[in-house]
Amino acid sequence: MANIVHYINQFFAGVGGEDSAGSGPTLVMGPVGPGRRLAELLGPEHEIVATVWCGDDVASGIVPAIIDLIRSVDVDGGVGSDVDGGVGGGVDLVAAGPAFTSGRYGLACARVAAAAHDAGWLAVASMHEDNPGLDEAGATPVVASGEVARRMAPSLDRLAGAVTKLLRHEPLTAADGRIGKLARLTVMADARAAERAVDLALVRLAGDHTATEIPLPRFDQVTPAAPVEDLTTAMVALVTEGGLVPDDNPGALESARATRWLRYPIGNLDALMAGEWRSIHGGFSTAYANDDPHRILPLDVGRQLVADGAVGSLFAEYFVTTGNGTSVANARRFGIEWAADLRHSGARAAILTAT
């Protein structure tokens, strides 16, 4: 019999919604929420021995703590005893989700599954193909869920199928609902590209309208948020990918291929003085930006709008990263982290300046 630990968020654990999104990780023995149905689908051969849940706002940043909790599960002696000394005390597989299209939850599921995989367990996450967390799973398999929680039943059917197959040590394929990008590996083809291009044209002309060597990249379609109802009372944040930092770049923000974002206080400033701020962006000539840093971060106009009563207030910090060859996975993560942070800070809108 295989022992499974199921990862879910605070909402599906029945703890609460946004009010509980800051809750830290918690271990519960046995299945919880959607885990109960998952356990039924898995049948008597497999057992969900424990559930770990965590609040959406904090989960993706504390994955090691979540992994430690999973490791503390001991299937014979209860929580925390770890008497047999094996990996996870006999845990065989970690399943995460379904996360549907929920960004923070999806990010957490992807990272928990990837970390569980790295820790030596079998692992699988479940989320919708459009979930921004998908790319964070790396080589760990992800199976498709529906778009919204209303699609829970078919999503759990698919997750159960994937769990069963993984426990038989069989690889998951598209037929199992596997989603996510497989790495593009460099190989030598039998024929030169010119010859293959002619062949492909003939195949297409013969009526195959899908043949290709490169699948179309999937670009996100972002649904705009609803307009802010009353800007005159709203707190607005300034956010930029323009690499604008204090002149000595104290946080060592990268000029290209950024892996992080930084925050700096502007609450006591009315303007950004040339010489005190600098764009370290490596993708364009920064001379004009450094002459007048407001070209990257429009604090001057922001303060004026507040003075005029058009905007309620400005958030006391700005967020910054460098958008230059930045991986899509990192850019997605920055967006999720910014949104969560700003929501908790009370900001109602953000102006994202791009270069």
Binding site: R184, R204, I214
Partner: protein, 418 residues
């Protein structure tokens, strides 16, 4: 209808040397250093140094600029490289002598030129067409106070003259092979009509391509007879994106055009070649793309093989053009290098077509290669990308290996999901 427009008289170069006189006999090409230096002489160049490097040697060329295959149509060039060596008059017919297996390769610093390398042995040798040719490397010292644009022009004109002169040495030699090349057929038959659409990266000084001696930057797409490529009507002055550039050598030996010629009258009819500039701004890209599709439609293309030059910016030209072709009912196949990140998990393409989705992969730009030490290096003492001696061992992205991801379809490197 079979129209034979151009005959290539192929002379295989098997051995090379520097000597007192420029000669070609029994597969051996000897180049007079004095004569070659005289041909390269220009007020913008203080001096040039000529060196042969051959396949299998422990040698590396860095800072590779343009490469030219030695060709001539007769004494004095007789019209070869029109607009540079010969007058700007249409070419592409008659006989052209080709020194196959040799190239004239300019190497050294120019502004905006991205660091490029060719290895003559080791894992990168098979990735570049110049890894398998005897290369007459032209290194240079600019004249004091010479403007870089004059140095660039002097190297281009000199390399083309030198290439024509080397081929002239073979005029009296019996060719090893004779290739009779069909011209595209203007008449619709039973076979599918497939043509080539070739984008030329025209983004200003040091990133420009010349057609009949003139920058193609402000031109609209036009039909070109493939024989005109053979005779050097398209000359590269584009030194960005080494793996994704199309030097003169590659235009002379355009792989997609050669493949269409090879299969013409068998499983397809070669419908024609349309060349297009790759301008910088979006409105111009849109105009050029719509115009290219219109020219292809007028030439009766059923399908077009679309090729690019350059990095992510050039993906926009590809996507617009492929979709413009699809709008006119022409099946478009794009040859793309992927920019999928070191581990191959990033998005492959910067701007993807929406309607025309047939793409051939010429490999991943970011894929890393481990290159070994070499006994000698030409073109410079340092490999600028990693600030290491040019002869040392280092790791590089495939993107720096000259023509390794050839958008014209030369290579066998590709990327697959795995």
């Amino acid at each position: 209808m079979e129209v034979m427009a151009l005959t290539r008289l192929i002379h295989h170069v098997q051995r090379v040397a520097l000597g007192a006189r420029t000669t070609f006999a029994d597969g051996e090409l000897v180049v007079s250093t004095d004569e070659a230096e005289g041909i390269m002489a220009h007020p913008a160049l203080a001096s040039v140094r000529l060196t042969w490097v051959s396949p299998g040697e422990s040698a590396r060329i860095v800072k590779v600029l343009d490469a030219v295959e030695p060709r001539t149509k007769g004494p004095g060039g007789a019209g070869i490289f029109p607009g540079f060596v010969g007058p700007a008059r249409t070419q592409g017919e008659g006989e052209t002598h080709v020194l196959r297996g040799a190239a004239v390769v300019a190497a050294g610093f120019l502004p905006r030129a991205q660091e490029a390398l060719v290895d003559l042995s080791g894992p990168a040798a098979a990735l570049s067409p110049l890894g398998a040719t005897h290369n007459l490397v032209v290194e240079f010292t600019p004249a004091p106070d010479a403007g870089w644009e004059h140095v660039d022009a002097a190297l281009r004109a000199g390399s083309l003259r030198l290439a024509a002169r080397l081929a002239e040495a073979a005029l009296d030699a019996e060719p090893d092979e004779i290739e009779e090349l069909p011209s595209p057929s203007p008449i619709r038959g039973d076979r599918p009509r497939i043509g080539a659409v070739t984008n030329l990266q025209t983004q200003g000084l040091f990133k420009d391509v010349f057609v009949y001696g003139r920058s193609f930057g402000s031109s609209l797409p036009t039909l070109l007879d493939p024989g005109e490529l053979d005779d050097g009507a398209v000359v590269s002055g584009q030194f960005g994106h080494p793996a994704l550039k199309n030097p003169t050598y590659m235009h002379q030996n355009h792989p997609v055009v050669n493949e269409l010629r090879r299969r013409h009258g068998h499983d397809l009819d070669f419908a024609g070649l349309v060349i297009c500039p790759e301008p910088v701004n979006q409105a111009a890209k849109e105009l050029v793309s719509a115009f290219a599709a219109k020219v292809c439609a007028a030439a009766g293309f059923d399908a077009a093989l679309v090729t690019k030059e350059g990095g992510g910016n050039a993906d926009a030209d590809m996507a617009l053009k492929m979709d413009a072709l699809a709008d006119l009912g022409i099946e478009a196949v794009g040859l793309y290098a992927e920019m999928a990140g070191i581990d191959g998990t990033g998005p492959s393409i910067v701007v993807a077509p929406e309607k025309a989705t047939a793409m051939v992969s010429t490999g991943n730009y970011d894929h890393r290669l481990q290159l070994p030490t070499m006994d000698r290096a030409l073109g410079g003492d340092e490999f600028a990308l990693v600030h290491a001696p040019a002869t040392s061992a280092f790791e590089v992205p495939t993107a720096v290996v000259y023509c390794a991801l050839s958008p014209l379809g030369w290579g066998r490197v590709t990327a697959r999901a795995g």
